[in-house]
């Protein structure tokens, strides 16, 4: 049973990490300013974005299926979502909240001095607001041997 909990926790960790990273790559390479970067000329930017999107979709369904299975079969007897994980999750919500507000403030400053497409700026705000708490969760839930 304990091995099952550890195994499921690791699966969830990897799924969350790849979900977040694939989402970030997809979003980053689909930003118009990035696609127009001269440094990326020659790279199949659209193909990278599409590939990352495809990976993200697959991971999304895998994550969903994983969570449904854990809940339906009552695997790990709730140990997968114990007090520590709940506390970590709460910390992530807080981090996400402050990150988002400070990102909005930074956007106002950046927008005052630089010409940035409004849609791209909004997309970047979403990237930061979603990925920071998720990556923080991944970091908090990393395996540390006692």
């Amino acid at each position: 049973m304990d091995n099952q909990t550890e195994r499921l926790a690791r699966q969830r960790w990897w799924l969350t990490l790849t979900f977040t990273l694939s989402w970030l790559v997809w979003q980053f390479f689909s930003l118009e300013p990035v696609q127009a970067w001269p440094y990326l000329r020659g790279l199949p930017v659209a193909a990278i974005a599409l590939g990352a999107w495809a990976v993200w979709v697959v991971i999304f369904f895998m994550l969903f299926a994983f969570m449904s299975r854990v809940k339906r079969e009552r695997l790990a007897h709730g140990a997968l979502d114990d007090e520590l994980t709940q506390a970590n999750r709460m910390r992530c919500w807080k981090v996400g909240y402050f990150t988002m507000l400070f990102a909005l403030a930074a956007a106002v400053v950046v927008a005052a001095f630089k010409l940035i497409d409004a849609l791209a700026l909004t997309q970047m705000l979403m990237m930061v607001a979603v990925s920071v708490p998720l990556l923080f969760f991944v970091w908090l839930e990393r395996d540390t041997d006692g």
């Binding site: 507000l101 927008a111 005052a112 409004a118 979403m126 708490p133």
Partner: protein, 150 residues
């Protein structure tokens, strides 16, 4: 040697803070009118710098007020009970709600921008206000709930 705070002082401080948070929310909402007027002629690529500064100042004022009120401020150092486990749990719940509603609003703005041109200077102050008012009011409600009962 300073006296230990009695529970009446703490209760008064807690009630004052609960009211202050609600007042903060109302003040921010009422400032929206001034901010919207300032953003009337401000766009990402144009408008006066002074108007852009005014918008930025509003955003930073809102953040500073929010940080002071929602993180406890100076008074919680005098009365540690103002930042006890229950308050921290209420604060965490309020911030979680704040994150969710602001994120949903941001997604809504993004979808709207695909259909209609929206300016950054118009929606950011609104999002910031929304993101502070909602958790501030919810925190205030949670704190007041705890006051009821014997």
């Amino acid at each position: 040697m300073s006296e230990a705070p009695n529970s009446n002082d703490v209760e008064k401080a807690l009630r004052r803070r609960s009211r202050a948070v609600a007042v903060l929310a109302v003040v921010l909402m009422s400032l929206q009118g001034a901010v919207l007027a300032a953003t009337e002629h401000v766009t990402l690529n144009g408008g006066r710098l002074v108007d852009k500064v005014q918008v930025g100042a509003f955003v930073f004022l809102a953040l500073a007020l929010m940080l002071n009120v929602l993180t406890g401020g100076r008074r919680s150092r005098k009365y540690p009970a103002m930042n006890d486990e229950l308050v921290r749990a209420n604060r965490a719940r309020a911030l979680k709600l704040g994150y969710v509603v602001t994120m949903l609003a941001l997604i809504g703005v993004y979808v709207a921008m695909l259909l209609v041109p929206l300016d950054v200077y118009k929606y950011i102050p609104l999002l910031v206000t929304f993101g502070i008012v909602v958790p501030a009011l919810y925190f205030s409600v949670l704190e007041r709930k705890g006051e009821k009962g014997g």
